[in-house]
């Protein structure tokens, strides 16, 4: 048997489930983790898919491919992608400034980053709308320039950028703190130019956390309802987001219709997050950084 062949050798091929560890309790904690994940995440999501499965494939496809649903999904995903991209650039900048420079008010500024986490999203939506409406503080000047923010898709991007900012900053920040400054000095002494140091030394180290932050911000923005609803205008085909369409289906007492849209959103989000995770794994391998 195969056992004979491996005698006398260590057995790297046979993976052992239980790793020896200083801290005991593997079975208990794993069991707990799986149960917990099931209760909190998998069962509700499974129920969602089961509900939409009750529709039958034809009806599901009709609801999912309805032009209005497609428009709403497009609005949701495009605005979320733009908002997450804006935050990837400016969130990185913000994290860099907060870690690398010492200036008065730095701690206060640092605390401000978390506010979008804490603020009820409806409050964020209402204040942003008040600000950017044509008679608001900011909106009145923009409207003179012919730019409409509130009640357009731009307004959606503004709201999503606001609520997803902390995700990028808070994931990138600890990694920037960990970066050894000597690496930059070493690069400089070896003759690297500044931009070479940034592109070849700093950015590769920051890419994995940045992707994580981007993915979190994106996921948060796609599902956002509370703040967007006030600023969007909610016109079908223009500024109607998918979560609103889900609510509309619920108002029609159509749980199945609502769960069909939700399932489509879930599938697209899952695919996008998977791609981002793969990219992240690739960048880790490629640049050899990260955990």
């Amino acid at each position: 048997m195969a056992d004979v062949a491996v005698i006398g050798r260590p057995q790297p091929a046979r993976r052992r489930l239980k790793q020896p560890s200083v801290i005991p309790g593997f079975g208990l904690t794993l069991g707990f983790a799986v149960t917990y994940l099931c209760l909190i995440v998998l069962i509700p999501l499974g129920a969602l898919v089961a509900w939409s499965a009750g529709l039958g494939w034809d009806e599901f496809w009709r609801l999912a491919s309805d032009p209005r649903t497609v428009s709403a999904l497009k609005v949701s995903f495009v605005t979320a992608l733009i908002a997450a991209s804006i935050n990837a650039v400016f969130g990185l900048l913000l994290a860099w400034v907060l870690v690398r420079y010492r200036f008065p008010g730095r701690r206060l500024l640092d605390a401000f980053i978390d506010l979008p986490f804490a603020l009820p999203t409806a409050v964020a939506g209402i204040s942003l709308t008040a600000l950017y409406a044509p008679n608001g503080w900011v909106g009145q000047y923009l409207s003179q320039l012919g730019i409409k923010v509130a009640y357009t898709p731009i307004g959606i991007v503004v709201a999503l950028t606001f609520i997803s900012l902390p995700f990028v900053v808070r994931t990138v920040q600890p990694v920037i703190e960990e970066i050894d400054r000597e690496l930059e000095e070493a690069a400089a002494t070896l003759g690297a130019r500044r931009w070479q140091t940034i592109i070849r030394i700093i950015l590769p180290m920051l890419l994995p956390p940045l992707l994580t932050g981007y993915a979190l911000a994106l996921a948060r923005a796609i599902g956002e309802y509370g703040s967007v609803i006030f600023i969007a205008g909610n016109i079908p085909h223009v500024s109607e987001i998918a979560p609103l369409l889900i609510r509309i289906r619920l108002e029609e007492f159509s749980y199945a219709g609502a769960s069909a849209i939700a399932t489509v959103m879930l599938a697209i989000s899952f695919a996008m997050l998977l791609v981002i995770n793969l990219l992240q794994a690739w960048s880790r391998k490629r640049f050899g950084h990260g955990a």
């Binding site: 609803i229 909610n234 619920l250 219709g257």
Partner: protein, 336 residues
Amino acid sequence: MQYSRPSLALAFAASMLAAGPALAQTTILNVSYDPTRELYQEFNEAFQEYWLAETGEEVIVRQSHGGSGAQARAVIDGLEADVVTLALEADIDAIAEATDLLPKDWRQRLANNSAPYTSTVVFLVRAGNPKNIQDWDDLVREGIEVITPNPKTSGGARWNYLAAWAWASQQYGGDQEQARAFVAELFRHVPVLDTGARGSTTTFVQRGIGDVLLAWENEAFLALEELGPDQFEIVVPSVSILAEPPVALLDANVDAKGTREVAEAYLNYLYSPVGQSIAAKNYYRPYDPSGVDPEDLARFPEVTLVTIDDPLFGGWSQAQPSHFADGGIFDQIYTH
């Protein structure tokens, strides 16, 4: 869904007090929709006094408000309401369809199709009526912006939509194609579709968006009262719709809780002169104006009102699926 705080606090305090002596103490829950907060706050106090005087029992009326459809869904999903007082017959029909809480002919059980008060749809325009808006056809003029909530998410907005349809149908001699074209054109003049009536009022009043707000009469009066008549005025169109927000007892719930007697009395009291006066004071048109202060009645202008049971709409059981269901006429307006 929220419980109004004073009544919740009251209920809590009362339950603490009642724990001692065996004082007869009942609590009923009225699940209602958004713009009835002020009305039921006043009515519940009056009813509690009335019930105490009548039977010596103390009754606590708890109150829940939210979008009419969402409230109906909460009841279907198990919120133990004793009575529902919603914006649309269709919402109570949905409860009767989905559950055995009340019989399907619930509408016949109380006077006036179970609508103790009614309302209608009017226009709220900016002071001085700068765009000279007088009737429905003015709303589709070049450059006019109309604010209304989304009929899919707001019961009130369905009345707005049907009022426009009623006018257009009369205007075009019953031609339904032209009525539909008019309503479609009207919604092309809507820059913001809020999810609820209060949201639309905010958009129009606070954000300064739009030239005219389609609103329930009681909401329009309330906006005038809160913001001062120097900022807005009400324009009454030539034709509008008779909005009949219905009330109903949830038999299965009151029997389970043993609150049938008080819950029935609660709904009947809405029809009493006191209940009718409170409704009129809160800008709802009373069903029976005989015992109501004429001064309150004088505020309601004469207007031709089309009812939902008019052959034009054929009642909610027809209007709801043909206009507002998934893929219905309202959805078709927005297909490009």
